[in-house]
């Protein structure tokens, strides 16, 4: 690609994909999630995780948080294509490395083991705000909140303490400080 000053200094193939968190505010109406998700699958974009719920009952607004990977050009297209959807009000986009944004994911772990192992399991979770939601003499359910890769590691490491089932949400995001998404 010789002597290209303008158009191809930005060629898609040469760019490195980054992980982005895309937050979308939509009218909470039938089919809206299918529109957003269908846009991703139809255009070949990637979804790593997805979290969606209504956040404003009065105005009927849902907030969708999508973790995706893509080159800057792809991420730009994702945002612009999302903005074109009729029920979409606004779109925000953050890099995962962004220090000004909090990303959290929640996980529920079920352990079946003896008391000693169950205690060790709880101990191992202590950096991630563990809460015991259910307990019997041979099992318990622990809730933690953490980053995606921390939960990945935890699910691997906790196997030895009798982890039998994992349920986790997609990531949700919020800016730090008094700033809000615009």
């Amino acid at each position: 690609m010789a002597n290209s000053k303008s158009a191809y200094s930005f060629a898609g193939k040469k760019q490195k994909p980054d992980t982005h968190i895309i937050v979308v505010w939509v009218d909470n109406e039938a089919g809206v999630l299918a529109r957003v998700v269908g846009l991703f699958s139809g255009r070949g974009y990637n979804i790593e995780s997805l979290a969606v719920a209504e956040v404003d009952q009065k105005q009927n607004i849902s907030r969708i948080t999508i973790v995706t990977t893509g080159t800057p050009q792809v991420v730009d297209q994702i945002k612009l294509q999302l903005k074109k959807l009729v029920p979409v009000h606004k779109v925000a986009d953050f890099k995962r490395e962004d220090k000004n944004v909090i990303f959290k994911e929640m996980a529920l772990f079920k352990f079946v083991a003896n008391n000693g192992k169950l205690n060790k399991a709880f101990e191992a979770c202590k950096n991630f705000n563990p809460v015991i939601l259910d307990k019997t003499n041979k099992s318990n359910v622990i809730q933690i909140t953490a980053l995606r890769r921390e939960i990945d590691t935890m699910s691997k490491n906790l196997k030895k303490f009798g982890l039998v089932s994992v349920s986790r949400t997609g990531a949700v995001a919020m800016t730090r400080g008094s700033e809000i998404f615009k």
């Binding site: 303008s6 158009a7 039938a30 294509q81 074109k84 029920p87």
Partner: protein, 588 residues
Amino acid sequence: MPKLYSGAEIVFKCLEDQNVSHIFGYPGGAVLPIYDELKNFNSIKHILVRHEQGAGHAAEGYARSTGKPGVLLVTSGPGATNAVTALTDAYMDSVPLVCITGQVPTHLIGTDAFQECDTTGITRPCTKHNWLVKDINDLAEVMHKAFEVATTGRPGPVLVDIPKDIQFQKSKYKNYKKNKKLNGKSHDNYTQKNIDELINLISKAKKPIFYTGGGVINSGTKASELLRELVYTTGFPITSTLQGLGCFPADDNQFLGMLGMHGTYEANNAMYSCDLMINVGARFDDRITGKIDEFSPKSKKVHIDIDPSSINKNVKVDLAIVGDIKSVLTSTLKTFKKSKNNFSKSNKHQISNWWEQIQKWRSKRSLDYIGSEETIKPQYAIERLYELTKDKDTYITTEVGQHQMWAAQHYKFNKPNRWMTSGGLGTMGYGLPAAVGVQIAHPKKLVIDIAGEASVLMTMQEMSTAVQYNLPIKIFILNNEYMGMVRQWQELLHDKNYSESYTAALPDFVKMAEAYGCVGIRAKTPEELDDKIIEMLNTDRPVIFDCLVDKQENCFPMIPSGKPHNQMLLGPKDQKEKKITGKGRTLV
């Protein structure tokens, strides 16, 4: 107490308030209440097609030739799925359509009822937006919003799915106030600074070119006028995409012809070598750019488009101006007049070398072909058709294939909205029903579908529609018995293995015309061609014109896929030297 209307009545009241005069459709179980109401609304005329795809393309033809949205009305299940091709076609080519579909009653939705399908699910990726109306009180607002979404910003198709029970239920009707912005979406996002920057680039350019597209046509006839003014003021050369033909007069000296895969040598070389490219309402489609890594490597690129997602999608640009073409061109001309009053004089010198270069490319005469006295060359047929119809205000539709490219190359368009062709989706069978829609919108005008014999057979049944409504459309078939473009690619890429591209057992088109109750004409030799065309033009009824053309002719010039603009194939001699190899073979 305000009057209550049934859902079916509300549908028509909305159409009336939207000034809809024609709808194209086909009845069926789930839309019967709407069809029953048709008799009470005299201002709306229903055109009965023979297949729902035909309804969609007819509505497209209507929309593209008038600038108004086209409306179609079809039933649930197969009615809706048959319309999907036309909706996708309209989506790709940015044509405003409102499709109303019937649906099974709400209590049967999800039970796999007779003629039930997930219409909104199926059409979600091929519409700008769609609605399933589950509450009669929402119907009026949804209908009006449908028209608003279809026509604002970058136009496109929308769909409203109405269950049968909703068509019977009653509600109040109120007209709808158009919002200033649809969910906060605005379409003019440019500033005066952008315009100043554009003018600065224009005044510095030594090798400029305008590259214009369908966006100019979609922005209205005024946009075409403004474009002409700007092109004349600057003295720059201009080329157009397939969809943009007609927004600048094709017989003007500043027009370089169409660009892209089958564009002219001068247009493509000018695109490759320019230092300033001003894209007005085009989208850097792959048929235009060729090999994207080597697309116009030395130019500054300006992109004017109403759709922000078109900017930097395929090609990174240096200056993006997001807005309606008409409004952007108005501001540009206004600023131009203020700051550079004598521009065209001072500029002439600056771009004179560029024009000299362009004349050299032009002298290659890339659209020339080898004539024949025995067989009708397809290019010759189009040339004669043009010469014999150019004094009339003619509307041309096409199918998809070689004939479409020859029509684009050899028929000269001087006005917008006169050229209806399926570019984005490339739908064979588009042209005949589109001609029906165009003729409905312009009953007194000459409407010709330039067709191929393979394409036209895909929607041939719509001849019956043309006969029913006395639509004197002319179906001008360039008959070479092959799917010509498929055969051309097989010749170039697959060692002449003409796998399944020859149509054996073609019907006799003249007899077929008679069977439909219209007129069939056949031309076999160049000698008789003119007389036969004149006979066609003098027939005030639908005509199927079977023009038997050279079976081996290929469409040139051509940029082979995987090659940049400056490596065109100019004709049969050229292609041996520039054989398509490697990666180019996998592209389409």
